[in-house]
Symmetry: D2
Subunit: 160 residues, 4 copies
């Protein structure tokens, strides 16, 4: 089926999975079980929050964790992959139920972030990242364009 | 560049955006700004939680919201798309930094969920969805295979 | 012990429990188990997020829920009480570990909110509560003082 | 009024603030503004999630943070106190609207946790805290009673 990666292929190359593939799989999954009735926007949002909680539990007692999780067991990484996936799947489903084209919105957001955080002004700006307040940047944005934002002045919180 | 959808194309067909596209864009975005130094697993996780909070704020005072958000203004839907995207982008970045193939993990999780929630047993099961406790299903799983789970007995919280 | 409500008393009158009582109980609990070593600010914050996830799971598939939870079973309400408590206990512990006087801060915040949301201007303002964006209130705050804020312009998200 | 600490007093001794004091202040605050109409359980829960997001933003780019926040500016600690308070105030309000006696529930939960994590078995157990999975403890609980739980087998996530 167009736009759907076969799972064997997916197994080899997860990176080629499209948001559309996941959206379709989720819609089919719900339809088969007659669960559309439960998939309202706020139900899905709360389910997403629940999964973010499970993701956090994986990291909660570990202190700082190095990139690549060098000392994690295979089963631990697998569990992490499952929780990351649960968050992704509910996010994709929520966007679908809300009528939002998530892939389109994500590409657009990357562009907005590029405008919001100009390379020459934000390069290596730890000031941006360690600034204490993500919310009172009315003042900060004056002296640090890294805080500039359109739909939010929570610049740092959207800093990618 | 291979595996990267041009943005014009993306504008037309967001669904064709792959997780790999987003992963590469995020990595490039961070590298250009020398922000890799800030993108540790737990920093990114907390940033993700921050974005989930902003997503929740959009829905917090609305009461139940119908599918498709029929009565939302265009600017409201746009803002929703941005917050959904922020969550997605941090999720993709977190998976990348942790060395998890998110697309592969997501396809595998969909398969696990299909095994966990057999169509013939879970079809339209509101019992599953309204069961009060997502955690004490040791007992529940006995009388309701919809609660069966492998890495979690929080069946409902993973019910898709 | 001064400032500690006996549990029998607590059983009768939970409302008389002070934040100090809970802080002391948490500190004692950790000390007895030699868990202070794990109670760093970010570990506790992630544990808090995990508990908020469990709290959300209780409400996730229910759709809108009436005040007082009239149709909930006793065991469901008890489970809710446990999850609300887990969030509270980690919050109290996090504040303690960060050296924040939570009770003092909470009383001060109530005062700040009273200044931020003047009764005569905010009374019954559904506009405030349904306003689509909690973040771009630079413009909104101009025509709606209900959005006015000090440390945050996410007025609605702090609207109590 | 009995059970209500005057704010001057509160200023001196935040620890003596009771959950009942905060519950009453929140109820009065909402009533004065005619906001009870917006304070449904799920609205308040989503508002709580929003505040947890703001709390996370404060810690998101800092890496590990030492206890007591020795190197934080006064304004940073003040901002932290406000966000911790926002979470607390919505939590207290949510419990009130749900008809849960939060103080009573919290004291009971502390007792349950003491039973769940016996001092002699859990003392200094980093195994408990670093165990990778908070969910598949059916097996784990067999070889580590620290995982034992009643309403949840997410032992670690409730480990205090």
């Amino acid at each position: 089926m167009k736009g759907v990666v076969s799972q064997e292929e997916g197994r080899e190359e997860g990176g080629s999975v499209t948001l559309d593939d996941l959206k379709k799989k989720m819609a089919e999954f719900a339809r088969e079980r007659d669960w559309d009735q439960f998939h309202s926007p706020r139900n899905l949002l709360l389910a997403l929050v629940g999964e973010v909680g499970e993701l956090s539990e994986i990291f909660q007692w570990r202190g700082e964790v190095p990139k690549g999780l060098p000392d994690w067991k295979e089963e631990e990484k697998e569990h992490l992959g499952e929780e990351l996936s649960d968050v992704l799947l509910y996010l994709v489903r929520l966007a679908d139920i809300c009528g939002v084209d998530l892939g389109k919105a994500a590409l657009r957001k990357v562009e907005l972030n590029a405008l919001k955080y100009p390379v020459h002004q934000c390069k290596g700006s730890s000031k941006k990242h360690t600034h204490y307040s993500n919310s009172n940047s009315n003042t900060n944005s004056n002296d640090n364009t890294c805080f500039l934002a359109e739909h939010s002045n929570n610049g740092p919180s959207e800093g990618l």
